[in-house]
Symmetry: C2
Subunit: 417 residues, 2 copies
């Protein structure tokens, strides 16, 4: 029974994908702007659905921070609309053309940018992802299957009803964007193995969700968002810059993936570190240090091996002293998640070595890791931050949601030996 | 015990990757040209190792076609050397640069092309892949872990010994290219889950191998080489072109992935098809047809559902009659492997619809599917033909073996709200 449900969603998405792929830019943009109007007109019913989700979440003891992510307000719905408008104004990634190349005889080979086809998005109880993923997926010409957190089901139903109305009004199949409305975990497993219908899976959420998808998917995956980010303060650091960058990277928005989780400090800076830890503690940050750090900074509590492997997403910072840049590089190679890494130093050789040898999506010299973001990088939008190296790395905008094919026009050419 | 073996290979590859990534283009090219010389000097010992593999293969009843793929000759070793020289002359993909973009304040963001890191190649008993993969992997700056078919183990040992000598002589760690010398299948499973050390897996071989890798890998995969390719002969076809293209695509080299496996014929052409089937049969092709095809062409034998799903890699062709282009598109969508698909027609509308709606790496109008190849497409080399859409599609050369990262140079910038 459950197999037939997912099979049906997959078949319907595959049947709808050609219509979306062949819709011209103007039509895709009209769907997005129409959706903005519908979301605004339906604000009351969306908020009512969201209130039901929130009530159930409170009853079930959902953490307050998670309830906040689940909560919609008039303002947040307006922000969704603004995002739709913004995506509608971005260039259509499938409009890029390349000049054809002449192969054998008069055989012309042209590389064309095309949508993936069907993209499945698997995420947690954050209803804004429903609209963000829809906007980017449709603009790039893809059909979407959305599987949001079950705690947001009523909200997502209300949002996807608006999406499907916008599709219908513009003459596109409403099955171009479908919500998985059944919440059995086994259905996610099925979705991850529907290679016949699904071209790409993008998980977005915590480490557990990402791991589940990576370990169970036979559909190609782009991993996103797991961020154990480091800042290494080198002996040649400008310590004023260091203090400002560390404070910003840890406290400006601790719940996000580009916040710093571990500070590595060259050991000659331990006296300075004492002041720094005091300031962080005063700002509400719990500092967990190795033995040298704890000896230097009375506010620090002892860190364990587990701390180096933990993405806190909270006002907690682990701090380790290292003898030199090479040791910092080894720590980052061992514990990092290839997201965003930073060195603070005025030494050009150390800067260049760090930029060259750190294997991560974004490598920083003397700036906050918080800049790793699609908007900051000028992509105009973001569907997630890839921490893998295949296809897309770092912040992913529309370009990450298309692929290419070769179109060959011949006149009877055959291949010789 | 086996876990420690693979773990060791992985750790060694990861430790070697920085040296390869940081080797300049001239040094990488010297490794390739030196390897050419060493292969030529060691021809006798390589052929002796290959003779041992061949003798065991014959004793174990390996099919003659597979023995031919396993066999090395002086000429084939010279061809490997020529390939090395060719790759040494290709542009270094990591040398591409992009102008930096200014973000907040004086924060400069530069996108840099970088190697993947460690690439694992899993393939069958074709020793030429050992050298091809080494050449492309190293030129792109990657460390390689090679797992060739166990029937070619002695040959691969001899070849990788040459590779490691070339690396050593040029001052690079010999662990930059390692052969999995133990043949337990469970070791492949371990390799596919070594996400800490391996950045990318490329399987190359038959459908069974590819399926095993896709179903068991948690490391990102680029699938290659599964090719159920179709030719659709439209009512408006030039039948002379059709005959030449079909004969070439089926018989010029039937064992390869870009050979045609299924012919779809618009049903008004059944009278013509009778002649065509006679010609194919005369050329040694077994034709398996649906009921209409068998009624029209006496040489055809009945096809079953299984035939539409089979990549023969042999002188066998399945033939199906279809009422129209839409039915041909549906058949290709259902049974194709997204490799290479062809329409033969003089009707511009049918040409454009086929090019637009067929979801495959290479879509042809009036030319043989046999052109889907890295050399034909001008890549200068080929590590495989991708049938997935993530990262690389169709023939993969050096560009498929690199990724990118963002390097950000700041002066104390922090992010505001």
């Amino acid at each position: 029974m459950s197999e037939r449900y997912m099979e049906q969603l997959g078949r319907q998405a595959a049947a709808a994908k050609t219509a979306v792929a062949n819709a011209d830019t103007a039509k895709k943009n009209r769907v997005l702007t129409r959706l903005k109007e519908i979301l605004e007109a339906e604000t009351a019913s969306i908020l009512a659905a969201n209130a039901a989700d929130l009530q159930a979440a409170a009853t079930n003891g959902m953490a307050v921070a998670m309830q906040d992510r689940l909560r919609l307000t008039e303002e947040r719905i307006r922000a969704m609309g603004a995002g739709l408008l913004q995506v509608s104004r971005l260039p259509d990634p499938t409009a890029t053309t390349f000049p054809p190349v002449q192969l054998a005889g008069s055989l012309q080979c042209e590389r064309k940018i095309v949508p993936f086809g069907v993209i499945a998005m698997i995420y947690e109880a954050r209803p804004n992802v429903t609209i963000d993923a829809t906007a980017l997926g449709l603009k790039a010409g893809n059909a979407m299957i959305l599987r949001g957190g079950s705690e947001a089901l009523a909200t997502n139903r209300a949002l996807v009803a608006c999406v499907q109305r916008a599709l219908r009004e513009e003459g596109l199949p409403e099955t171009a964007v479908q919500l998985v409305e059944r919440t059995e975990r086994s259905l996610v497993g099925e979705l991850l193995r529907m290679r016949r219908y699904v071209d790409l899976v993008i998980p977005r959420g915590g480490a557990g969700l990402i791991r589940f998808v990576v370990e169970n998917s036979t559909v190609p995956v782009i991993e996103t968002g797991s961020g154990i980010c480091h800042i290494y303060v080198d002996a040649a650091a400008d310590l004023q810059k260091a203090a400002a960058i560390i404070m910003n990277a840890k406290t400006q928005r601790p719940s996000v993936c580009n916040a710093v989780e571990t500070l590595l400090v060259q050991e000659s800076l331990l006296p300075w570190l004492a002041t720094e830890v005091a300031e962080l503690t005063a700002a509400g940050v719990e500092v967990r240090g190795d033995a040298q750090v704890c000896a230097a900074a009375p506010q620090a509590v002892p860190a364990t091996e587990e701390d180096w492997r933990t993405e806190y997403n909270d006002l907690i910072l682990s701090v380790r002293s290292v003898p030199d840049l090479a040791a910092a590089l080894r720590h980052i190679e061992t514990y990092g998640t290839r997201h965003s890494e930073c060195i603070i130093t005025e030494d050009p050789a150390a800067q260049e070595r760090f930029l060259r040898d750190v294997d991560a999506a974004a490598v920083y010299v003397n700036a906050s890791t918080r800049f790793t973001d699609g908007f900051e990088f000028g992509l105009g939008a973001e569907i997630g931050i890839s921490t893998q190296k295949l296809h897309a790395r770092g912040p992913m905008g529309l370009e990450a949601l298309v692929t290419y094919k070769y179109c060959l026009r011949g006149n009877g050419e055959v291949r010789g030996e």
